[in-house]
């Protein structure tokens, strides 16, 4: 499928305004990334036709869905919307839920069996909705949206309401969808991990505006973005305060089974968002022992991307999270680093951005 999705919307509310003008490819997964309240969900709802007050223009490949004179009602926009919550119909079982959109669809790109297979729902078809786990429910919701035969899938943080175990249960299914389907997906997320793992393209939103758009690798390196890229290129890690050293003014934090020291005093149990910049991470082959660097984490190299003449941005898996390290090409050659290698990441500085652990 060729062409683009052209989106232009303005929406004014007392506490919020949306003002976007973007082009989204008709293929792959496009991430819409930003902090809570940046307008990501509002943008999806505009595309779906759920925001009646929104004025704008929406063109899907060759079809005009909305402009100054026409606006297709929600049910005539061929979209597959996966909400943050599964929003299943409690009076219907899994099969009936999945068939709800299919029976109202006009075309049939994805077959029932294909969708059921892709999302591993074969054994759940006759189950009532109230017996499903969170992950099973969200998989059902994704299959239901797929069988509407949408021209574009809209996914609004489909994993945000799930715990980590459920998220890890669903992510492989999303990978499979990505590989198996040609339908373009617009994927709203505030998770760098999800965006890095799933997306091909990225829109970055701030205060209701799009501040960056393009191929994910380019956008992640954008120097002018406060969230990603350039000097600020780095990763965000979600951790919990587990102890406090009053004498040295440090807080012990944990994420997964790894622990670090961060400056400042935080109450035990406080969820902390840590930002580790690529420039603050150096890599060693072996544990360097005592050093002025407090934090050293074991990790493995997932990928490396050359930057400019002399640098390499290394993408590391640490626990279940990811961090970036910016090293020189010379260092890479000296240490003979390759993807898959296990290394120790020395982290010179960790910034605590105290943000809620979850949210819209």
């Amino acid at each position: 499928m060729s062409g683009k999705i052209a989106v232009r919307y303005g929406l004014q509310r007392s506490d919020f305004s949306l003002n976007v003008d973007a082009e989204i490819p008709m293929r792959g997964i496009t991430g819409v990334f930003g902090e809570s309240g940046a307008g990501k969900t509002a943008l999806l709802r505009c595309i779906a036709g759920l925001e009646q007050a929104a004025a704008g223009r929406l063109v899907i490949a060759d079809e005009v869905w909305q402009d100054e004179t026409v606006s297709r009602p929600v049910h005539e926009r061929e979209i597959g919307y996966v909400f943050q919550e599964p929003r299943l119909f409690a009076h219907l079982n899994v099969r009936q839920n999945i068939e709800y959109g299919q029976r109202r669809g006009r075309r049939s790109d994805t077959g029932f069996d294909e969708a059921v297979e892709l999302l591993g729902l074969r054994d759940l078809l006759d189950r009532p909705i109230n017996t499903l786990s969170g992950g099973e429910a969200q998989r059902t919701a994704i299959a239901r949206a797929l069988l509407r035969s949408p021209r574009v899938m809209l996914m609004d943080e489909p994993l945000a309401a799930l715990d980590r175990a459920r998220r890890d249960e669903i992510l492989p299914f999303l990978d499979r969808l990505h590989a198996a389907l040609s339908i373009p997906v617009i994927y709203v997320s505030h998770s760098v991990e999800e965006v890095i793992r799933l997306c091909d393209y990225l829109l970055v939103m701030e205060h209701g505006c799009i501040v960056a758009a393009g191929d994910i690798h380019e956008v992640l390196l954008r120097a002018d973005l406060p969230l990603l890229g350039g000097e600020e290129a780095g990763a965000i890690i979600q951790a919990t305060a587990i102890g406090h050293d009053a004498a040295d003014g440090l807080t012990r934090i944990a994420f997964d089974d790894l622990e670090m020291w961060v400056p400042g005093a935080y109450q035990v149990g406080t969820p902390l968002r840590l930002r580790i910049r690529a420039n603050d991470v150096s890599l060693c082959r072996e544990d360097p022992g005592t050093s002025t660097v407090l934090n050293a984490l074991p990790g493995s190299i997932e990928s490396m991307r050359e930057e400019g003449e002399s640098c390499v941005l290394v993408h590391l898996a640490v626990g279940s999270g990811h961090i970036l390290a910016r090293i020189t090409r010379r260092s890479r050659a000296q240490l003979q680093l390759e993807p898959g290698d296990r290394v120790i990441a020395q982290i010179k500085s960790v910034a605590v951005k105290n943000a809620p652990a979850a949210g819209r």
């Binding site: 049910h75 119909f89 709800y100 109202r104 109230n130």
Partner: protein
């Protein structure tokens, strides 16, 4: 026995017809109340709730005036049908609809409020028009509300006395419903007949309410 069954059957007929009309008319009204941001909403809600607060005699008094042959509605009815509305079964149905209105509208509105917008929005995105989504999603998911509205309207109409007395009077086979008949029996010191009818009514009312709460429990368990 015929004199016992007659008023009972009339009451059941009246209650059934009233309930049917109220569910049909009350559903769109409750849906509108649940979805609207109109400034009229509190006023409409207050009007709907009036019969709960007012003594039935007050309701009955105004209805008698409006439905009577010189009232706005009553005169029109006489012109169209040639019959008077007051002291007739039709008049009783209309009066009962006003009298039991809150018992249909309020449970429905609560059910629609509790439903929220999530599932209905999801149905729209799956290609269901607003009407389609209402009947295939909103109505089934609000089933406990419909059950409560039906049973309460029915039971409340069955137990009505003051409004009937004012608007309908006491015409056997036409307006002599069970509550009036019992009052009559007591007045004439025929306690045996009063007992007979009362115990039937008590048993019936308990059975209906019990089945409603049992069914509601099942419906709620399903949706959890």
């Amino acid at each position: 026995m015929a004199s016992t069954l007659g008023p009972l059957l009339l009451s059941v007929q009246l209650a059934a017809l009233t309930t049917l009309i109220l569910v049909i008319l009350g559903t769109p009204l409750a849906w509108w109340l649940s979805r609207t941001r109109s400034r009229l909403k509190p006023a409409i809600q207050a009007i709907v709730a009036l019969p709960i607060v007012l003594p039935p005699t007050v309701m009955g008094f105004y209805l008698l005036i409006v439905l009577g042959p010189y009232g706005a509605v009553g005169r029109w009815w006489v012109e169209v049908t040639g019959e008077a509305l007051t002291f007739s079964f039709s008049g009783l149905v209309i009066a009962s609809c006003f009298y039991s209105l809150p018992f249909a509208v309020q449970p429905l509105q609560s059910a629609f409020d509790a439903l929220g917008t999530q599932e209905v929005e999801a149905a729209w995105t799956l290609g269901a028009s607003k009407i389609d989504a209402f009947f295939t999603i909103a109505v089934p998911l609000s089933a406990p509300g419909f059950l409560t509205a039906t049973v309460l309207s029915f039971a409340h109409t069955l137990g009505e006395f003051g409004v009937v007395l004012m608007v309908g009077g006491n015409i056997p086979g036409e307006t002599r419903v069970v509550s009036i008949a019992i009052y009559d029996h007591v007045e004439s010191l025929d306690y045996a007949s009063a007992h007979q009818m009362s115990i039937i009514l008590v048993t019936f009312a308990f059975a209906v309410l019990l089945s409603m709460f049992l069914a509601n429990r099942r419906l709620e368990r399903r949706s959890r």
